[in-house]
């Protein structure tokens, strides 16, 4: 994302410089009103008082953030203790997203490397094959996963038929099912940036390492991996960030016990039982986490680019 902003500067010309503001006006207006203003309004709502039938009362309050972090007992007058419920949900989300990222890396890295070392003519076909599933509706992919993983689903059927297991493996409604779902949802995001990085890598460096008696795995770890690190980091971010705030995989595959941030937020806006300021506050906390991650990576990538010259 940050790299796009940086590289966008290279090919500019000024043919339409005089009409620039008029050309940009529609995007400023639409995105300003329907994306930027809503995010700011959400920030304001997180500091308002909740209304019991959903919605807010326009009175400043820190109650939403207070409820997130502190437990003050049933009547709100006990001494404040740390409230673990929501921190646990956030922690679980980080853990689940992390596990999905590691799974994607384990499968995605070798795949990306393999594709990038194919003949130049066939590479686009491989890349195309990897991207198709990404463009299939996320809901449908998650439903397919649910269908496949059920106790009486095709996967268990298959494993029992070939005699690998005697009774169905219970996967659905576990943390592992959510991790699998997230892994499946965002795997192409891991493959593509790593692929791009390996494609740019100069393999004469591997050859030089081989000439100096490095084994192939040492070469991979000490030469290839450092050179393509920006691609690997980009892939990890592209899997981790959407996993963190995902709603469909935990909701459809995880069941009620494996709640993640997305479901916590969604619940606050459903029907009349919700708490809008609390939902807005939880969204703000999630948004801040994501923006911090993106900023740190953008800074590191910029540093790495500078170091390369």
């Amino acid at each position: 994302m940050a790299a796009g902003a940086a590289s966008g500067g290279s090919a500019t010309t000024d043919t339409y410089a005089s009409a620039r503001n008029i050309l940009l006006l529609p995007s400023w207006v639409v995105l300003g009103i329907f994306v930027l203003a809503p995010v700011l309004m959400m920030l304001i709502y997180s500091f308002l008082t909740k209304e019991f039938r959903g919605g807010v009362i326009w009175e400043f309050s820190l109650a939403a953030y207070d409820q997130f972090f502190f437990d003050r007992g049933l009547f709100g007058d006990d001494p404040a203790k740390i409230e673990w419920t929501y921190i646990t949900i956030f922690w679980r989300s980080i853990w689940q997203a992390g596990a999905a990222t590691i799974l994607s890396l384990a499968i995605g890295f070798p795949t990306a490397y393999f594709i990038a070392t194919r003949d130049e003519a066939v590479r686009p076909i491989w890349v195309f094959l990897i991207t198709i599933p990404y463009w299939v509706n996320l809901l449908i992919r998650t439903v397919s996963m649910k269908f496949l993983l059920r106790d009486e689903g095709p996967m268990n059927d298959f494993l029992m038929n070939i005699g690998l297991i005697d009774s169905p493996i219970h996967i659905i409604n576990t943390n592992f099912a959510v991790q699998l779902g997230l892994f499946y949802s965002y795997l192409p995001f891991m493959v593509l940036p790593i692929y791009a990085a390996v494609e740019r890598y100069n393999f004469s460096m591997s050859e030089a390492a081989a000439d100096l008696y490095a084994t192939k795995w040492v070469t991979l770890r000490r030469i290839v991996l450092p050179a393509i690190k920006p691609g690997v980091i980009a892939g990890c971010i592209l899997v981790f960030v959407p996993s963190l705030g995902s709603f469909l995989a935990p909701d459809l595959l995880g069941g009620a016990k494996n709640f993640m941030i997305g479901s916590l937020i969604e619940e606050q806006f459903k029907g009349n039982a919700g708490n809008w300021p609390f939902g807005a506050a939880a969204s703000m906390i999630l948004l801040s986490m994501v923006l911090i991650i993106l900023m740190i990576t953008a800074r590191q990538q910029a540093k790495a680019e500078k170091a390369e010259g």
Partner: protein
């Protein structure tokens, strides 16, 4: 680059993992497609080939619901993406052909904002915003939200394409007394077409597929295909879901394939 011996490049097991990767990506989709042709009323047992569930979607008791959802999904996608496309094309022209200017980085940040904000957060923010300005939730609120978040998806392929077109064509036209508007509509726009078409198709899929934001801003009674499918899945997996999923899956695959060939043809010219 020097030609490097293949044995240095390749690692044992990477090919097997790549094949595993493709199997993992495609198996669930293939299995759902197969089961959509199942004659059985249960999703577990296989009772032979049948088109019954496709009939069920188009003519069964719930067919009115699916038709309305499909109508909403497709009309919203067409209108939202066409609007987003026009906005994105103008913006890309300013960003790529507008010289250096102060608000360039800020403009790029604003355009890519919908990609950086987690979808659930954007959904909450949009709901809150519509609520605070008293915008009734329904068909029109979905349309507006879709237009906004489709802009970056339309913008990125257009920008990439425009950066690949040298401005000497437009300069030549203007040397021959074409004005800027003519240079834009007669020269730049036709050259941009492959990028615009592939951007349109991809943004169209993004709009057609959106569940989370739509679910927040749709209000009661208005459903798109994803929200209708989600509602149905929540009541239990039924075989008709397999059929409708297969149809939507087919639409996505066809559109991505067209987009792939449009941009590929473009590279060979």
């Amino acid at each position: 680059m020097a030609i490097v011996n293949d044995s240095i490049k390749s690692y044992k097991g990477f090919k097997a993992i790549t094949i595993l990767c493709l199997v993992v990506l495609y198996a669930p989709l293939v299995i759902v497609t197969i089961y959509s042709f199942n004659a059985s009323k249960s999703i577990t047992n296989w009772e032979g080939l049948s088109l019954y569930w496709y009939w069920d979607i188009f003519a069964g008791p719930e067919s009115a619901k699916w038709k309305e959802a499909a109508w909403n999904s497709f009309t919203i996608a067409i209108v939202a993406v066409t609007t987003a496309m026009s906005i994105a094309t103008l913006a890309a022209t300013a960003m790529v052909r507008g010289g250096k200017f102060k608000l360039r980085t800020a403009s790029f940040g604003l355009i890519s904002l919908p990609l950086m904000v987690p979808e659930i957060v954007l959904a909450v923010a949009t709901l809150i915003f519509f609520n605070s300005i008293g915008f009734t939730r329904g068909y029109f609120s979905i349309l507006v939200a879709h237009t906004a978040f489709c802009i970056p998806f339309a913008y990125l392929p257009i920008q990439a394409r425009m950066q690949g077109i040298e401005d000497s064509y437009e300069q030549a036209a203007m040397d021959l007394y074409a004005n800027k508007r003519q240079a834009f509509t007669k020269i730049l726009l036709p050259l941009m077409m492959p990028g615009i078409i592939s951007g349109f198709l991809l943004a169209f899929i993004v709009s057609l597929d959106d569940f989370i934001i739509t679910n927040f801003v749709k209000g009661a009674g208005v459903e798109t295909l994803p929200t209708a499918i989600f509602g149905s899945v929540k009541q239990g997996l039924k075989p008709n879901i397999m059929a409708i999923s297969t149809l939507l899956l087919g639409v996505s695959v066809i559109m991505v394939t067209i987009s792939y060939f449009v941009s590929k043809k473009d590279n060979t010219q």
